[in-house]
Symmetry: C2
């Protein structure tokens, strides 16, 4: 949850006046999104999300993110849409930060996903990959294999204060993943962060995807690994094979996986688990003063990582051979 | 800002099903209110605020708060209204906490109040006092003069770590206020916390009052003292006499102040400043682990308290004699 920036009412009125959405009726900081400040904005035309992009987001990436939302929506993926102002711009400046007004997407994220939810997410991810195939802009994945060691180095001195032996275990994993990371799997635009809080449902029907601020170009199957990690484990740390199978089958119903993609799945899952372990570890050790954010437990992803090391082949995730 | 409690989507659906407001379409934690967890709730019937009452609120007080909102609205004070469920109850239970659904009130709180805003607030406060006069329920003020010393005692051991000499200054103030506190001023229902973030405006027109969770029975003029403290000081700590005069005249336009109320104003302002100094001091020294709340600066109210000690008579606040 996050509201990092206060917006003065008169600055907001001036910002909104550039859009064709009427006067501001209400604006409330909302407790969603970790990277940015988000507000629920009510104007005479309806309800919107106002996002202020904070320093963790590179302003140069914003045309990619906002353009991707428009592109995906045209391709049939339900997601929020940037509202363009009277000059046609989707991006403006408010309180000294890049800012955008986004349509309000109904739906609720599920706290306890079922296999049915996982199946729907698998299908939505495939739809995302297919719709993203002809998106013109590209963005490299700033959090893929070559970024993990530098990220780890910033947490290394204090890593063992979080969990004894953590530094050594991460280093061994980095060595293994850097040596074995694939280079030639099918690539495209991936969401890269499709956790349960980024998928909305209305009465068990998937109603849309949100939060495209980690989207980038990378292996499509890596996106599936992110979802297996974030949807298919139980709170006790066990992997739920039924959920994994539902997710994979949901995906396969729309997009086939190559043999190489299937074979790489355990490794991609390890990599994805390490990526979230490392960013959570960094955040855990560096809670910014005044941040209204509760850091997430990095060790959840250490446990997931350890599970993936025990998976010999993709049937371990429920992939039918 | 506060969201202390997570609400599972299926629990929410069950809770909302008891109301005649359609299915849940969206629910987002909002960064407003310090005492409770607040969510923006979108249903098929519209937008609402869902409030979960956390442990700082006594459940026995909730009928007073919710009933007061209904009573004030009937008396012409614009404020949110509790929505009653199909059994007629305004109060239910969600995630193990007392919970209520409240109508969504449009408006934006002003970060930099002008004298015009202060005048509107003075008038709204008087309207609140008049409308509350025939409210049947009562609630004693849990944060008035007799509560200040016990509250101080809980912060006393660490008070001087916040500001050298703070303990002694508070004790001298307690001695003075306990000795001189009035006993026979006009009483009634007061808001007791009408800070700028609890008053909404739409284009400089006051659109409503919110957050009645400190409302109680006490001296009406004490409420004015709370507002003088929270609206009429500049960020540099100086008192703005133009704003004070506007607020008092706004109030006097609807309700006259007796000579005793006028004479007591400097003392009531000192008391109100001490009350916020003490609660902020306590919060400052006791940030709960995991609370997503930034404590407010207690010393802001020490500076205000010192100002009030220099005010000889109510003309110091802009009251025309």
């Amino acid at each position: 949850m996050a509201v990092y920036t206060e917006v003065a009412d008169e600055d907001l009125a001036r910002f909104v006046a550039a859009y064709d959405i009427g006067r501001v009726l209400a604006c409330k900081g909302i407790a969603e999104g970790v990277e940015n400040s988000n507000f629920l904005l009510h104007t005479e035309k309806g309800f919107y999300i106002l996002t202020l992009y904070e320093k963790r987001v590179d302003p140069g990436d914003l045309p990619f993110f906002l353009g991707l939302m428009e592109h995906l929506a045209q391709g049939g993926v339900t997601c929020p849409l940037p509202v363009r102002n009277r000059t046609g711009a989707a991006l403006g400046t408010l309180a000294g930060r890049p800012a955008a007004i986004i349509t309000f997407l109904d739906g609720v994220w599920v706290r306890r996903p079922t296999a049915e939810h996982c199946g729907a997410v698998g299908a939505a991810l495939a739809r995302f990959h297919l719709a993203g195939a002809d998106f013109a802009l590209t963005r490299r994945n700033a959090l893929t294999v070559d970024a993990w060691r530098p990220l780890y180095e910033r947490s290394k001195p204090k890593a063992d204060t979080v969990f004894a032996g953590l530094a050594g275990e991460i280093e061994r994993e980095l060595d293994a993943l850097e040596a074995a990371w694939p280079t030639d799997l099918p690539r495209g635009v991936i969401h890269a962060d499709l956790f349960p809080d980024n998928v909305f449902f209305l009465e068990d029907r998937l109603s849309g995807l949100i939060d495209f601020y980690f989207a980038c170009n990378d292996f499509l199957a890596y996106d599936l690994a992110v979802c297996l990690n974030s949807w298919c484990f139980e709170t006790d740390g066990s992997f739920n094979l039924t959920k994994g199978r539902a997710m994979l089958n949901g995906y396969l119903g729309l997009r086939a996986l190559s043999d190489a993609e299937c074979a790489a799945l355990p490794l991609l899952c390890r990599g994805s688990a390490l990526r979230f372990l490392l960013t959570r570890l960094y955040d855990w050790l560096n809670v910014p003063p005044g941040a209204l954010v509760r850091p997430k437990d990095p060790l959840e992803y250490l446990r997931k990582l350890r599970f993936h090391r025990t998976v010999a082949d993709p049937s371990g995730y429920g992939l039918d051979s």
